[in-house]
């Protein structure tokens, strides 16, 4: 059994009558790449702030490597690097100056500071930008610098709040593959929140979907996909018979028509059965997608959120 790194028991945060995080029970193990998915206002940021001892839980507790974060926030903060939603770097300082300041805050000895900073800048591919003011950086560069900044203390855990928000696909890939390297090669435990499902599916070891302060689904990406699957068929023509035939397949929960599309929601993987129906009938299928059902699960909660 791997070491428990983050543990929460009934962690709850209320703002007045409003419950932002509801009785959260999380266990994250050493070396895991854990992703927290959730629509706006789900309570992801609030959870992170509580884990860092920056916001007091209303009830419940959280531990980082066994240290109670409300009683001993400094012990938690020594071990956790945090990359906030907004990087919070100083635009009027250079990349290096920003990191020097953080190194000072963490009491990194002077002798090794310079080397550590340059190594980190190299790791996040900003070495040539060391002496450029951060105000000139693109969002993606700022985000990478923020990751370097969080790594200055040589943390065992990295918590990142939507590190790819507002960053283009290429920049997002760069950030996520950097995180993957940190996770695989250096064994850093990663807890990250995101909206980007397809990335999360690829990189996360475990995923939790959060909605209105509660975790509504949690597991490995493959197990979540097994739970429910969705097939989208693009057809030249659609007749109602096809809809009802598809609806008759065992395990199908719902069949929906959307223009030229048929969307089949099922409790298991029913690709084979669907193809049997179609090939028997000879429908003209112009496109098929086996949608990552996670997205649909997510979309479901997203919709509930809006409703």
């Amino acid at each position: 059994m791997k070491n428990l790194v983050i543990k929460t028991v009934n962690l709850t945060k209320k703002y007045g009558d409003f419950t932002a995080v509801k009785s959260l029970n999380l266990e994250i193990y050493e070396g895991e790449f854990f992703c927290l998915l959730g629509p706006n206002g789900a309570g992801k940021t609030t959870t992170f702030l509580m884990l860092l001892g920056l916001t007091r839980p209303t009830y419940g507790s959280a531990w980082i490597y066994g240290h109670d974060v409300t009683k001993n926030p400094l012990e938690a903060k020594k071990r956790v690097g945090f990359v906030p939603e907004v990087p919070g770097l100083y635009d009027d300082l250079t990349a290096r100056e920003n990191l020097v300041f953080t190194a000072e805050l963490n009491g990194v000895p002077k002798g090794i500071r310079e080397k550590r900073i340059m190594d980190l800048l190299e790791k996040v591919d900003l070495k040539e930008w060391a002496d450029v003011k951060v105000g000139k950086f693109s969002r993606g560069m700022k985000q990478r610098l923020a990751i370097a900044d969080a790594l200055i203390k040589e943390p065992k855990v990295l918590i990142l709040d939507e590190p790819t928000a507002g960053i283009d696909p290429k920049g997002s890939e760069e950030i996520l593959s950097l995180l993957e390297i940190l996770s695989k090669n250096e064994g850093i435990t990663i807890l990250m929140s995101s909206h980007l499902l397809h990335y999360v599916e690829r990189y996360g070891d475990r995923i939790a979907i959060m909605s209105r302060g509660e975790i509504v689904a949690m597991g490995e990406p493959s197990s979540l996909i097994k739970g429910e699957s969705v097939i989208e068929l693009n057809l030249k023509e659609i007749d109602n018979l096809l809809v009802s035939e598809l609806g008759g397949i065992k395990g199908v929960k719902e069949v929906r028509r959307e223009g030229n599309k048929i969307i089949v929601l099922a409790g298991k993987d029913i690709r084979k059965e669907i193809f049997e129906v179609i090939s028997r009938r000879g429908d003209k299928v112009s496109g098929v997608s086996f949608a990552p059902s996670l997205e649909k699960i997510y979309a479901k909660y997203f919709k509930e959120e809006k409703a």
Partner: protein, 319 residues
Amino acid sequence: MRATPIIRKEVADHLSSKRFPLLVALILLSGLATSYLGVQSILQGPMRETEQTLAFLRLLTGGGGSPTLSFAYFIGLFGPIVGIALSFDSINREMASGSMLKILSNPIYRDSVILGKIIAGLLIILLITFSSTGIVVGFNMLVAGFGPTIEGAFRIIYFAITSFLYISLWFSIGLLFSVLFRRTTTSALASIALWVFLSIFFYLIADVIAAEISGIRYYFPSPPITAIIAYYELRSAISRISPLTLYTEVANVLLNPEIRTTGLFYVYAPNLPSPQPLNLDMSMALAWPSFSALIAGFIIVLTFSILLFLRAEIRPSWA
């Protein structure tokens, strides 16, 4: 100490900011200009040594020429701007930009953060008050051709300490507003409004209130003397709520040994020996109530801002 990196960064930020040279120029130029005028008007003809000492000190308060054109007057007026400029955005700017959250995600206590900012700000104020007083006094010595006595030098040092305290009080007011208001424009406006209110309008208000309470609503026929005295005493008591009044009183008492009271009356009878200038201890005793009121104000406002900051809800971004 955990606050050291914060202090270092804040001091560097202040010194390299665009505000800093402006603030120093504001204080220094007004100080030099007024003392030049003062030297011209006071130092006419030869003087005895005791007269020289008094005259030299008076250069700082403009006792000879116009009292409104003096170094002490300009610190009284612009000192608050210096204090406010150093603090009005120090907390809310970092809250809004998210850098506060980032700082606090590192192993440092919240009180170290605000203490670091306070210490850095006070160091800068110390630097500004003592260097500008030093430069102005040196300039006066150069132009006048003589300097203060030892006692006079001490009076000037205490005056500089008072200026430091006065500007620090306004620094703490700016800091309080920077914790209280999320937007830097709001905290700037609130600080400036309070400065205008306490430094300019407050005298009018004190006057109106005192007149109302003491029942003086007419000047002819002359009201009874007791009512007039009550009115003046009330007015000066009320106006002591303004830091400017307190500062002016302390500065005047320290720099004018001939001032024997901060109130209306000094009891004197013809058969007593003629009044001599006060020695330093006596002047300090006279200035003490106002001086300690400045200290009290400073500590109270500062404590409030620290407590509010410690309780403030930290969010990713305030804006």
